[in-house]
Amino acid sequence: MKLEFPDYRNPRGIPQAPFIDSVDDLCKDIEDASELVSELQQLFQKYQLMQAATTQRSRGLESKIPDLRKSLESVEFLMQQKSQFKTRYELNDTVYATAVVDPVDTVWLWLGANVMLEYPISEAETLLKTKLEDATSGLEKCTEDLEFLRENITTVEVNTARVINWRVTKSKHGIK
């Protein structure tokens, strides 16, 4: 017994689940539908696994976006400052100190993996903007994927319920 998958895949290559229009037609030649049920259950698990992975990725992006926004905001502020300004900055968690900042034309960006690099300020701005755009569009794609996965999970659930109902009705008739 093999479920026939439709050709459609979403833009990230997630396959669309098959929908069983009529269990009668699909099962007319077989005695026992348990193989079909287990096939559907496996499919269900695959979708759930993808759902868990995508949810995690989407959470990661969700927490990254506000940080990127703040960095971009600060860099843009620095770009606008043509003269000295005073600031209360966070020296450490809950500890603030006052600093006088001269106008700057470079900033240091923490790139991750223990690397910090100096950038001309306009390049830093471009870099942060690109990163923010990437994160935002990545999050949109994640959301789309999650919606698609949910739809497919529903389809598989409907299929499974139908096959099980069909089996129950059939065995009742068998007893009669």
């Binding site: 502020f77 603030y96 529903t154």
Partner: protein
């Protein structure tokens, strides 16, 4: 009655839109709250002494700025927020329209006894 594939797709779409709508409502609510905060801030700021330096939050740190320097920032923040809210509201009303169409179709097909599409 067996549900056909086209109908199942419509049910799926409805459920997807319903979920999205809930997300949008939450987002609009939080943006509106933020906008109210900025409105309050603007009122307070007008009362402040012109020569006082106020601590304005940029990113994670506070910058000492005069009232006249803060005002334009505040205005531009508020404009950005209003744009965001407006664009979300447009999407929201488009989605509601589509949901009404789907609702009419699905109730017509299955009847109100077999399917429930009311929001909780």
């Amino acid at each position: 009655m067996d549900v056909q594939w086209e109908d199942q797709q419509k049910i799926n779409e409805y459920s997807k839109l319903d979920n999205r709508l809930t997300d949008y409502e939450l987002e609009i609510k939080s943006l509106n709250e933020r906008k109210e905060d900025l409105d309050d801030l603007e009122m307070e700021l007008e009362l402040a002494d012109e020569d006082d330096e106020l601590m304005y939050k940029v990113g994670d740190c506070f910058v000492l700025l005069k009232q006249e320097e803060i005002m334009p920032r505040l205005e531009s923040d508020k404009d950005k927020l209003s744009d965001q809210i407006a664009s979300l509201e447009t999407k929201q009303s488009d989605m509601s329209k589509r949901m009404e169409e789907l609702k009419a179709y699905l109730y017509g097909k299955f009847g109100r006894d077999s399917i429930n599409l009311e929001r909780k």
